[in-house]
């Protein structure tokens, strides 16, 4: 390493000191007499240093041992005066909302303007560091140059009387994209919308000659008003500024950034591509368990095509994202503006196609249904369903309310799952968009096309007071109607009771009590059970998004298998599943009524029943309550299942519910 500074005289002193120290004390005098001849000042300095050498070494040894560990410990505690409760100018600090290497973010009330603000302070230990202060100002300057609806608004930079410094910016209620992603997949239409908005915000930065350098889902805020805001321009640099090293988040860093090469907009395009990838597939393309492997993957590994993970992603989107993830910057879109230019038409095309689909759906469906029922030669004869054809329409919802939509989906599935079990009913469960407004004329037309005898429809408004109606297909005459309070969610029992009522109204007998024969091994792909997963997931989404996400994380849990309605069926499941699944693990929960008492429990369907309370530390009834769905996604309990059972991997599982009605 080159010696970048120095003083010749001091170098001479040091050399003499070293040489003298190496000698025995008796020889030192003679050595220094000769070496310092004619320079008594030099001799005095060396002597003074040699005189303290022993005590100095001891002093620094002690100081290092005493001062450094506590100083580190203090760092660890993040010691420093808290800002909460204090007022700086118009800002009254209310709570801490985030913390990172270069800043602590608080929520504050702007007492003058009566709005909330976010204040980003330097961490206490950096308050006196000029470089850190520069960086904070740079961040504020960079972000305030950008006036774009998709970028966080900066109010200003202020110094406090105590020498602290903060950026004041808009406070947004909501969650980061990273937080949103942990809650489960985002619907494609919404994902495309979010993607476009991030790209637009980033494009504004690129137009102003700025590179963000740390674009990740953590730095993208999804506000409660459904806006997208890019945060944290702390690492942003004017394009063409000095080479930057080592800052950023590896899983989102471009190969050139990882290598410490100069970074320009194409590097942001890469990070945007990684973010898109995660947005559309739920997975990070280059995330590995440790940082070395992650860096290795960023530089060398090819991202798996998106459609292998998420088949619904449009091909054009996959092409775009993979191009954003090219290893060579020159092969990527040059900046976020180009990404916007490519993404916008894709979204537009999709919107138009969807509209067209809706209008032609009825015709298509009718043709297909008729073809299936009448025109296809009985090569593999369709399982003839001798029952009365009944159409279950999608329930009308308040489209602006996701809870209303989820509830409608859940209820629709709960009814169809139950009603399709009635041998006297041939249920046509209509899940695509309706061919027109839900009017009597439309219902009659549809019923005619499908040769149905009755139509079920209903409303699921935001208020959760649901109305269901059953119409005679010939004249749309109302046969039956029912109001339901679903404020506690959709449970299989509701589906069952509705199905029973509808069957009764149509004069159809309920299914016999004998067990429905489920063929183990095929039910995972059985449309009668597979689709229920979607319904339960949707219900849980509404019921408690976190629970749904926790359940989904356990990949092995594929969904609700069935509601078992008899002891025989329960026995059958328990006897046959372990054989059929051969070493794969299945889980079943049951609820049965014996002599008027409800008993709830779990079985590992591995020949080894165990009591529910063994792992839940509570009485069974504490737990299930009345709704069978509720426990399904509870994260604590799912984790407990792994822990208590002590097995890994958790290959597969279904919830089997036993309503014990035949006991």
């Amino acid at each position: 390493m080159p010696d970048t500074g120095g003083d010749d005289r001091w170098e001479r002193i040091s050399t003499l000191y070293g040489e003298a120290e190496a000698l025995a004390p008796s020889e030192r005098q003679r050595f220094l007499d000769g070496a310092c001849a004619g320079d008594p000042g030099l001799r005095a300095e060396v002597d003074a240093l040699l005189g303290v050498s022993g005590v100095a070494a001891g002093y620094f040894g002690t100081l290092a041992a005493e001062a450094i560990p506590p100083a580190l410990a203090a760092l660890e505690e993040g010691a420093g005066p808290g800002h909460i409760g204090r007022t700086y100018g118009a800002y009254h600090v209310v709570a801490e909302i985030g913390r990172g290497g270069m800043g602590v973010v608080y929520r504050a009330e702007d007492t003058r303007l009566g709005r909330s603000a976010a204040l980003k302070f330097l961490p206490h230990f950096l308050v006196t560091d000029p470089r850190a202060r520069d960086r904070l100002v740079r961040e504020a300057r960079a972000a305030s140059r950008l006036d774009d609806p998709n970028i966080c608004t900066i109010f200003g930079v202020e110094d406090t009387a105590d020498g602290d410094m903060f950026i004041a910016m808009a406070y947004y209620a909501g969650e980061t994209l990273a937080q949103r992603l942990t809650r489960g997949p985002i619907l494609l239409t919404e994902a495309l919308d979010i993607a476009l908005r991030i790209a637009k915000g980033l494009a504004a930065a690129h137009r102003s000659g700025l590179t963000h350098r740390d674009l990740t889902p953590r730095n993208v805020m999804l506000t409660a008003r459904r806006e997208v805001k890019i945060l944290d321009f702390g690492l942003a640099e004017a394009a063409g500024h000095h080479a930057d090293i080592g800052a950023g988040t590896p899983a989102y860093m471009s190969p050139e950034q990882v290598r410490g090469e100069p970074v320009a907009p194409p590097s942001d395009v890469w990070s945007l591509g990684v973010t898109f990838y995660e947005l559309f597939t739920g997975r990070k393309p280059f995330d590995r368990p440790d940082i070395n492997a992650t860096i290795e993957a960023v530089v060398h590994a090819e991202a798996r095509p998106l459609r292998e993970i998420a088949p619904k992603v449009p091909e054009a989107v996959e092409r775009l994202v993979l191009r954003m993830l090219r290893k060579h910057p020159a092969e990527r879109p040059a900046d976020a503006g180009e990404v916007v230019a490519e993404l916008e038409p894709i979204i537009e095309r999709r919107r138009v196609r969807k509209l067209r689909l809706v209008t032609t759906a009825a015709a298509l469906f009718a043709t297909a249904a008729i073809a299936y029922a009448f025109l296809r030669p009985p090569v593999a004869p369709p399982r003839s369903v001798p029952g009365a054809r009944v159409v279950l329409l999608p329930l009308s919802t308040d489209t602006s309310s996701s809870s209303s939509r989820y509830l409608a989906l859940g209820l629709h599935e709960a009814i169809s799952a139950q009603l399709s079990r009635f041998p006297g009913v041939a249920l046509i469960s209509w899940t695509s968009a309706l061919p027109g407004e839900n009017t009597p004329a439309m219902r009659r037309r549809l019923a005619r096309a499908l040769s149905a005898v009755a139509v079920i429809e209903g409303d699921v408004p935001e208020s959760e007071l649901v109305t269901l109606r059953l119409h005679d297909a010939r004249d749309d005459h109302l046969i039956w109607t029912r109001e339901l309070d679903l404020s506690r969610g959709v449970f299989p029992e509701i589906g069952r009771s509705i199905a029973l009522e509808i069957a009764a109204a149509l004069g159809i007998r309920p299914p016999p009590r004998s067990p429905e024969v489920l063929r183990p091994g095929t039910f995972a792909t059985d449309p009668r059970t597979g689709h229920v997963y979607e319904a339960v997931a949707a219900t849980l989404n509404w019921y408690d998004a976190e629970e749904a996400a926790a359940a989904r994380e356990h990949k092995g849990i594929r969904g609700h298998l069935a509601t078992i309605t008899s002891a025989e069926e329960n026995d059958f499941i328990q006897r046959s599943l372990p054989v059929a699944t051969e070493g794969r693990y299945w889980i079943g929960g049951y609820r049965s009524v014996r002599g008027g008492t409800t008993v709830e429990g779990w079985h590992w369907v591995t020949n080894e029943p165990f009591a529910f309370h063994n792992w839940a530390n509570g009485g069974p009834n504490d737990y299930f309550g009345e709704d069978g769905v509720q426990f399904w996604g509870d994260s604590a309990k799912w984790n407990d299942i792994d822990r208590v059972a002590g097995f890994e991997p958790f290959v597969g599982g279904f919830l089997v519910e036993y309503d014990g009605t035949s006991e």
Partner: protein, 182 residues
């Protein structure tokens, strides 16, 4: 990511500092949890862990790796000195919640503010020393702040072990006299 590091590169240090700080804090917290409150933190262990977290060992040349340690030592000095300065400023009566600091001191079990003055003085003295010999101040950073051995320091700074030994001894003597005369 650190392959371009060059010792003495102020920009590199600028970029590294927040990362080192962030990692230090996380690791220190973890180490403390592992050990229990009474035991002291292992500085060198922390720096090594930070290193492992920040760079891919195969992606960096031997000299780049060595430079990292020199830079990490530098960052360590800055972090600790800044912390001491902030602590002292607070103590000198901006009137800001000194309580919080006392609580921390109590937890740590040592009167920290006494050392805060020393650490600030040492930082100033070291800056003065760097004008006499930049290399010697680097040696102090590695040996004192990062707790590196003579061999590690020699490797990090690209000098011989005897040079490190001599620099360390003479620097300590000089710094000691500076601190005592102040």
């Amino acid at each position: 990511m650190l392959t371009r590091l060059d010792a003495g590169d102020a920009a590199a240090l600028d970029e590294l500092l927040p990362l080192v700080y962030d990692e230090l804090r996380t690791l220190a917290r973890r180490q403390r949890r592992r050990m229990g409150a009474a035991e002291t933190l292992n500085t060198t262990g922390l720096v090594h862990e930070v290193y492992l977290k920040l760079v891919g060992s195969e992606r960096i040349t031997a000299s780049g790796r060595a430079h990292f340690f020199a830079l990490a030592a530098r960052a360590m000095r800055q972090v600790l000195s800044n912390n001491a300065r902030a602590r002292r400023a607070t103590k000198r009566g901006s009137g800001l919640a000194p309580v919080a600091l006392d609580v921390v001191d109590e937890l740590v079990g040592i009167d920290q503010s006494a050392h805060a003055d020393t650490l600030v003085a040492l930082d100033d003295a070291l800056t003065a020393l760097s004008r006499l010999s930049a290399r010697q101040s680097r040696v102090v950073e590695c040996r004192f702040y990062a707790g590196m051995s003579v061999a590690e320091t020699a490797l990090a700074l690209g000098v011989s072990e005897p040079t490190v030994k001599r620099d360390w001894a003479v620097a300590q003597a000089w710094l000691y006299r500076e601190l005592k005369s102040a």
